[in-house]
Symmetry: C2
Subunit: 466 residues, 2 copies
Amino acid sequence: MSKTSIKIKTLFAEQATQMGQEVTVRGWIRNHRKQKNMGFIELYDGSCFKSLQLVYTTEKDVDGTLKSLHNGSCIEATGTVRQGFQNELIELNVAEVTLLGDCPEDYPMQPKRHSIEFLRENAYLRPRTRLFQAVFRIRSVAAQAIHSYFTDRGFLYVHTPLITANDAEGAGNTFTVTTLDVGGTKSNTEMSVEEAFKEDFFGMPTSLAVTGQLEAEVFAMAFGEVYTFGPTFRAENSNTKTHAAEFWMIEPEMAFCDLDRLMDVEEDFLKSILGYIMERCDDELVFLEGFSKLSLRERMQAVIDSKIIRVRHEEAIRILRESGEDFEFEPKYGEDIAKEHEKYLTEKHFKAPVFVYDWPKDIKAFYMYQNEDGKTVAAVDLLVPGAGELMGGSQREVRYERLKARMNELGISADSMWWYLNLRKYGSCDHAGFGMGFERLLIYVTGMENIRDVIPFHRTPGSCDY
Amino acid sequence: MSKTSIKIKTLFAEQATQMGQEVTVRGWIRNHRKQKNMGFIELYDGSCFKSLQLVYTTEKDVDGTLKSLHNGSCIEATGTVRQGFQNELIELNVAEVTLLGDCPEDYPMQPKRHSIEFLRENAYLRPRTRLFQAVFRIRSVAAQAIHSYFTDRGFLYVHTPLITANDAEGAGNTFTVTTLDVGGTKSNTEMSVEEAFKEDFFGMPTSLAVTGQLEAEVFAMAFGEVYTFGPTFRAENSNTKTHAAEFWMIEPEMAFCDLDRLMDVEEDFLKSILGYIMERCDDELVFLEGFSKLSLRERMQAVIDSKIIRVRHEEAIRILRESGEDFEFEPKYGEDIAKEHEKYLTEKHFKAPVFVYDWPKDIKAFYMYQNEDGKTVAAVDLLVPGAGELMGGSQREVRYERLKARMNELGISADSMWWYLNLRKYGSCDHAGFGMGFERLLIYVTGMENIRDVIPFHRTPGSCDY
């Protein structure tokens, strides 16, 4: 580590002043092409999407050290920066190379197109491929975008708890968290469930949180505008392209906010995030467009330039019913909207992103504001062309008696939620918030089809590798 | 929500131009003082630490609406901005107030000093107190500081998995994650443990991660410099002031990095984070200094101005042994350094932060670089006056055979860690990283004594409320 090195990103950014200079770079060999008199090494260091071309002549490579370098090896190279021949990029005319870490010839990541399934199996090596350099760079930049958006606007970042006793009763699709014996292998039939859990770490049944919203509401009633950004868990035993047992979620919550303003914020947030990513990840997006055959930047720009349509659920159903389309599922008043319906609304009818709001209360959560019609709640789903439902939000029910009555109707214990109810008693105000699955955004932005390919190490039924 | 409102933070920031203007603010009543002819309402909205004083005359309050406002109530107030009488702050000469959410007189958060234990029990209301407005604002700003630090330097942000099969075998202090029955209440004695776990969600025993480092190393070998910032879990059954079962951790990992450079980065990182917080949280720190009777800003500034001392573990032990101090635990070569020793080194001997490096290998983790002396590893702990150990890091062992031999010695299965070992086979290079417990930093910065008071909702043995 004696020599001062420069990152490839910096080298490209400063190429005007670096031209003709001797520099040292460190990184990994993506590809090594050998010709009769020359060799070309494609070197990446993870600082940017672009590789740097190293050029050497066999004449200088007297002992054949350079020629014997394998793909995947880690090297340090010193040489002179010069204009490349084939394109406008600079390259390095190599004077000296040190092998830092060799890579055997049976290295799984060869410079060819591997199947996405093979890469998924080799999740510990796939971040080295161009595809996943693009995907995970965008993941990181998107996370920055989200933190910047809220920080710039004075939102407080809240870490809501991951281990919770709230959802432990009967929700069904949660993971149990315990220090007790599992699976009934050590039986203790004389003990009741209640007694058993007294022995557990927390002295009660606990599970992994499926949302941080309720705790975020606590903080919105103290700090006004807050957001969470953290992992969330669902023990849903469904092997689909869009479900994972562990994923990250963003949940902003705002005091003094009704449904209209919520939609304003969601719209501004989405456009801002997409713009932030487009500004910083052009190389990555160009590559992913080639991979996915989707016009990723074009469709993001279309969202940024759009005025998002706002339509009541009832009206959306009417449009669907009168569309003359041959849907697999019949659109019905009072019922959910299927994926095919979302697609029709956003891609055929409106040709724009759509807020569907005022949903039938029976298909939405207990905490949503009950509209005066007695049938709907002030909930809103954001549907985006090519992405489907990207965000879901609502104004919250802040009327103590109405909330309690709704909890009763749905069999939710008011006893365990005393604190959530009390928020409505002590200086409450209209508030609203939304949730966005981080991976859902990433699937849309990167054009990757499977949630397994936008998460570093995915957790799905039967799969917990690395 | 018809009126355009302004945040109190903005009002103070723009007070020169706001003077004499009519504005509307929304927030909560911290305190309502009533005099014969006038009333004073201390209003906060969570946008900043400062409250805004609302002033009204009883003359204008004909029907007594204003006078009847309770502490804790949520209101909207319109009035004219004017210079306050008692200090340099502006105040609002109230023309109209709307009650948005009443608060009964038995509201637990009264404008008096509550015990810290009472506030902890009322964790859903304590974010409204000045103390916790200060603590949780600093928590949010510190998180921003960390993201900004790494983002500005091109580090990739990685979300390492929370559910893992890595630590499931024998580590002991992990939480089991399962969808199976728990606690032996439903017995199935015909099934072996292996068979039982085949039925579990992931088809294997899984637990909550105690570190993201190993997966971060995967990404460092692809992106060069990366960091994690996420929740971490320990099922340690110890009821101390510094242990929680769920806490947040920051783990940067850097390729082409040895122990010296690691210390450089840790030093720069800490100073930068402290500076960032001091720049943005002066009001909060002043308040917390009053609460804790500690010179918080002074001790942070001393760290920023210091050159952090670097001393080998052996030398540190020698200093301690020759100190003439009457320690409870005798400092011994080859053994750990106790809290009292840390205190002596940082507060008495060096009067500065200290890096203690080259630790005895037997008291450190398997993945640390084995020094040539055969006795020590290239590990480093950062000790800070008033904080104790704040960060722990190491250069990683990248020599395949040495790592494997060490794992064997310690009984760590090479089979389950094949991918971690393989990182050393495929284009490896020197790399190093450190971990910092986020709450440990917050305890130091805020002067709060208990980890339970720097986490929104703490999880500790027997406690999983909210």
